[in-house]
Symmetry: C2
Subunit: 392 residues, 2 copies
Amino acid sequence: PLPWSEEGRLAVRVSDRFSAANEGELLLHPPSLILGVGLERGAPASLLLDHVARTLENEGLARASLAAVATLDLKGDEPAVAALGLPLRLFDAAALDRIEVPNPSPTVAAAVGTASVAEAAALAAAGEGAVLAVPKRIGQRATCAVARFAPPKGRLTVAGIGPGAPAMRTAEVEAAIAYASDIVGYGPYLDLVADLTGAKRCHRLAIGKENERAELALRLARAGRAVVLLASGDAGIYALAGLALELSGGAVPVTVLPGISAMQAASAKAGAPLGHDFSVISLSDLLTPLETIRARVEAAAAADFVIAFYNPASRERRRPLEEALAIIARYRDPETPVVRARNLGRRDELVTVETLAGLDREAVDMTTVLIVGNSQTTVIAGRVVTPRGYSS
Amino acid sequence: PLPWSEEGRLAVRVSDRFSAANEGELLLHPPSLILGVGLERGAPASLLLDHVARTLENEGLARASLAAVATLDLKGDEPAVAALGLPLRLFDAAALDRIEVPNPSPTVAAAVGTASVAEAAALAAAGEGAVLAVPKRIGQRATCAVARFAPPKGRLTVAGIGPGAPAMRTAEVEAAIAYASDIVGYGPYLDLVADLTGAKRCHRLAIGKENERAELALRLARAGRAVVLLASGDAGIYALAGLALELSGGAVPVTVLPGISAMQAASAKAGAPLGHDFSVISLSDLLTPLETIRARVEAAAAADFVIAFYNPASRERRRPLEEALAIIARYRDPETPVVRARNLGRRDELVTVETLAGLDREAVDMTTVLIVGNSQTTVIAGRVVTPRGYSS
């Protein structure tokens, strides 16, 4: 990928249309076209070459973009075809006759057993999804047509970049970003992968605009771009993977790449509090009714799950956290270890080990993940451990 | 790290002890010793050089391992000290007097204000944890002693290598393996990181020997080795991190590195079934009573958690799975999507989307992770999605 800037004064243009390059521009002609030809046996090379050259000129196409010439197998040894100096693709009449073309000819069909040579051969060689850039043009003793390869298919990768530190990213997430054309994300997430995005098109959207982010990413992918939609932590855990899949409706290939989630990073820093059965609960009541949240906290507390809380509180929203802690207090010892982790993997990272009774509730905010131990969770030399087995 | 083999015929030996190299051996003397000297003002260089040479010879130490000479600041300009040709470390009498030594001298204390010069200076320069390799040796008009740096401190890193594919490993896990001296793990886990272990000492232990693996890793770390203990998936989720922390008792620094867990990999491949609140339950009743497992499944099913099952069944152990499915069937629609994932990230990976009623139970084994959707989980174009919000 090359550097790209809205204000850039030097540009690379890639096009199979013929034109002069503009000032400060490098014009590249990709090998995106297949020339199809039909010709009478023994037609002079000059006639075919002239006809092809005139056709390309009339249509404004670059000869440098011709990847190959395609024709009927019987014409493979015609000197005029060889004179084009292009790689040769040959098809038998039966194969060509199966190709749907705009301008079939009964005369041709009667003569060689396929209703189209130039159009059919060009389309056959250009493969699935190809379209005719130039339908059949009839010249002296020769016809030609031009097919264009299918446009590159767009794709969307929803990638979990982990909590923030580059060291916690997976190789496949880094590769997805490296090979993408467009990166869509909340600004601070883009900053966390600035070492990988370089000159890519980065689309910075605001927090809270999850729908807009997913929709923009899908729109870009539908337009043929290779798009990465960034998620913090794991893309599939309270993140954008589900939303992108819902909105895509299967129209664009969507890949989901997991990342180290906040609760995993918090658990590792604190020891191993997630060492046995656990429940993960979001305390955000924006999209989930408070009764549902309450019922889940109650169920998890009663069944002695370790509990990881996401979105535990914002400046305004304190009630779900207070209620959750009150529910848990009815089932667990006040000395139950609680891990409070803020800004994981980032500059101001803070992981503290407190207790259910001693938790600094005021310090719990949007960037916090809480892990509440179960009845077996203990602190060993400062590290929080939930044993794998139940001591009898 | 250099290649290492039990049968190797070429060797590198690193030692500060003097000896001739054996056949097929490269002997390296690390700069691990500090020479401490005390001497009378104006003592001839030859006396000090002879005394030091004789002492090293008697003690079997290599002169090439002397990193520096240390003495009292007042002796820093003595020609005999300079004649040693070693980097010079000087300390004032007050600093030396604070160092505890085996052979203090009241005479020296009266003369220069510290009871020890040679021993104290050597220990002071060699830093925390250093020990005397040679206590004070008295020669003509000079004394010397030798301190050895503290041995390298051992450390244990419990690292989650993800489900199996190198692309799903994190950078910090790869770095930990790259910088380790010893890798301890179940054989197939070691195979999964064979691209990183090269010539390291790999300790392959059998499955089921979790305690032995953790204990060996800790023993090696206590002996000063840089040890990585491998865990599949996330080191802290039903893996060895907790066990290692329990057994270490804080005696060795233990670092836990998370990895992509099996449920995350399964979720990503299938879509985003873990997109809202979920519970993670191990169905192994080896260490957890079956009643506890039942109660947790019941709680998670009733509170509409998505449920990820680890260790769902082995060849012999089918009952917990059958009971769990029966419990869930009382709360959820038979058409609830179920993701069945086997051998994630490995050669025979298989991820299928079935239903609660249609699950191929016979195919569930030790290498399987199951994810059972909640009431909102749907299948969109073949992908399983649990929406982030509750549709009203």
